[in-house]
Symmetry: none
Subunit: 203 residues, 4 copies
DNA sequence: AATGAATGAGCTTTCATTCAT
DNA sequence: TATGAATGAAAGCTCATTCAT
């Protein structure tokens, strides 16, 4: 069946692209994982590049959609940012494969990478909106919203990635979902309050 | 002479690895840029991998060294963190090439990437120390220092990278050094105070 | 219906084999042009090769038949040769597609090409007969009939082909049928009289 | 050595392109014949196409040069045409490989084939010049020189090719050089005198 | 120290052909 | 009859690496 085959390929591709990079991923391996012939991949996707892009777009759409939904469910910018953070961390954690690709396949100069950055800018824009909303609500301080949103995105992404590798390299065997709250808490604390001790805070 | 040739190769390699990734960089192109024969590279470096690792280690050492020196020049954890931030942003900005590699060549599963992550952990450890110092000084609030340091590293790195690409894609033509202060300021504001408006802040 | 589908495939195949060669023609493209599924072609023809051979045989039969009929309509070898020439040139011109295949797909070592050459020999044999007839009528000089027939075939074929490409490459926009008489005339003049000026001719 | 390797590749390529067509020729086979690794071919030629074009240009240059020299050695247009014919037939005969490529790889629509046709036009132009010369000397009749030259080229080329295949398919075992004179004679007779018997000639 | 011609494993992509429906 | 998804054997090309000079 058509859809079924494509799904198998997709799933296999995520795996393979995950533990290799785009360049080192081999179509042969993807085909093997998917349990189809190599030609079958090419019957459905014009090229390795197209397959990869389809994959990333799919992931970016999912995560964007997920974030929007979670944000919509919250009242007030402060809670929305909290939701966004948690949603983002949770999603990346559960799709570690995608998380790796997100940060590693985006900082290059191919056309594809250019497009990915545009996608990421959409993600950042969502955070930016929340920040703007909070600023106008008076609950967030005046700030450079674009830069701040980017920094938030960076802080969250790298935190998750570091944790993923930490576990992978045998550093931690706590259940993944148990680890999420503490990571989100650390990020929240940093992003909401900063590092300064409150008794030293005056402005 | 020996040293000279090696330097040429190094300089060329930085350039080439910069606009390609490790995988897409070609020894031929590096040789061309360096103005030496391909064989010459292999006379000095055992492999592409070794050349790349040498390069990255060099960069990591420089940046680590640079950070330590700048931190040492400041009094008090608050200022030290400020210095660290500025030093890191400045270095990455001026070595955009290295900045790209830093984030893109690190999230993989090759031995090399494993080693790079260890290097990055050193960098993070520096920040961590400052945070610990601040905490014990009472100037920073109690916190999960490792996670916070990672988040700080992520926020700063991605902010710089996003800015580099923004410029590269024609988005901004301000002088690079003029842009640094405002980026550092945004990061500082975020990391010191968080996003919360002070009138809403109560602990 | 059956016949209809086959005709569509045939027509499409002529087109596609025309602007590509046998090797570069793709079954996919033929199917697309024909408006049928690729499998349908294989339902009617065992292979690409078989389709191509059927096509060429069809063309060779048509041209052979056409030549014979035109020759039969003329009295005397001189007029017969004239008719043959005109018929051949006209046919090739009107089936430029076939003309290209005729000369380009024949000089190889595949079984198929071997068979085509046999077919061409039939065509040459027709000319040869006319020459023999003319010789015995005394209207043609004694000659090496086989070689001469081949030369006549070559002269006519290449002349037409060269003209087809000349037009195709934008060299001439006269109506095709207007150009035929002058080409036939030039060929006739060459083949009947040769290049020698009559005042220099003395046997 | 550089030149030596290239020569080996060239020689092998002629052979392989000869008994296959351009499309069916395999780089692996060429490499095998040449006794070098496949990569070596690509070290010297950017692509299969480039190798092939280099080959054909080489052949076309040789034959053009050969023709010009032989023509220059003759006095009067009549003898020049005779020389040209013999030179052309001889060359093709001795380079049957090239002869096949000449006629079979030229009637297509790739860029490469376009270029080859331009080359052939140069060859035809040489014949044309001789015809023009003869016409102005009064030794050749007035004629459509371009068309006639093309026809001469076609007659000679196809004649040789047909003979080459005839032998190859076991049709004749006379020494190649012994066969040339009779072929040239037949062509000469046709092109100089045409087919008409002299007693019927009154034009 | 330096060179660059030569290598060949490895990779992506193509496409005629098959076959279950 | 007709379909089109699936196949897998090729084949062109790349490029890190080697090594004789």
């Amino acid at each position: 069946m058509g859809r079924e085959t494509i799904d198998q390929i997709f799933a296999a591709a995520v795996d393979v692209f995950a533990h290799s990079s785009f360049e080192r991923a081999k179509m042969d391996e993807i085909a093997g994982y998917a349990g189809v012939a190599k030609g079958t991949i090419y019957y459905h996707f014009k090229s390795k590049e197209e397959l990869f892009v389809a994959l990333m777009n799919d992931g970016m759409e999912q995560i964007t959609e997920f974030l929007r939904r979670r944000i919509a469910s919250a009242e007030g910018a402060a809670d929305q940012l909290r939701e966004a953070l948690e949603a983002y961390v949770t999603y990346l954690f559960r799709n570690g494969t995608f998380a790796k690709l997100l940060l590693s396949e985006v900082w290059g100069s191919t056309q594809r990478q250019h497009v990915f950055r545009a996608r990421i800018r959409e993600l950042v824009a969502i955070i930016e909106e929340v920040l703007a909303q909070g600023e106008s609500e008076g609950v967030f301080r005046p700030m450079d919203k674009r830069e701040t949103a980017v920094a938030v995105f960076g802080a969250a992404s790298v935190t998750v990635l570091q944790e993923i590798f930490h576990r992978q390299e045998g550093g931690d065997d706590m259940e993944i979902d148990e680890r999420i709250p503490s990571l989100v808490a650390a990020l929240e604390a940093l992003l909401y309050r900063g590092v300064i001790s409150s008794r030293n805070f005056n402005g």
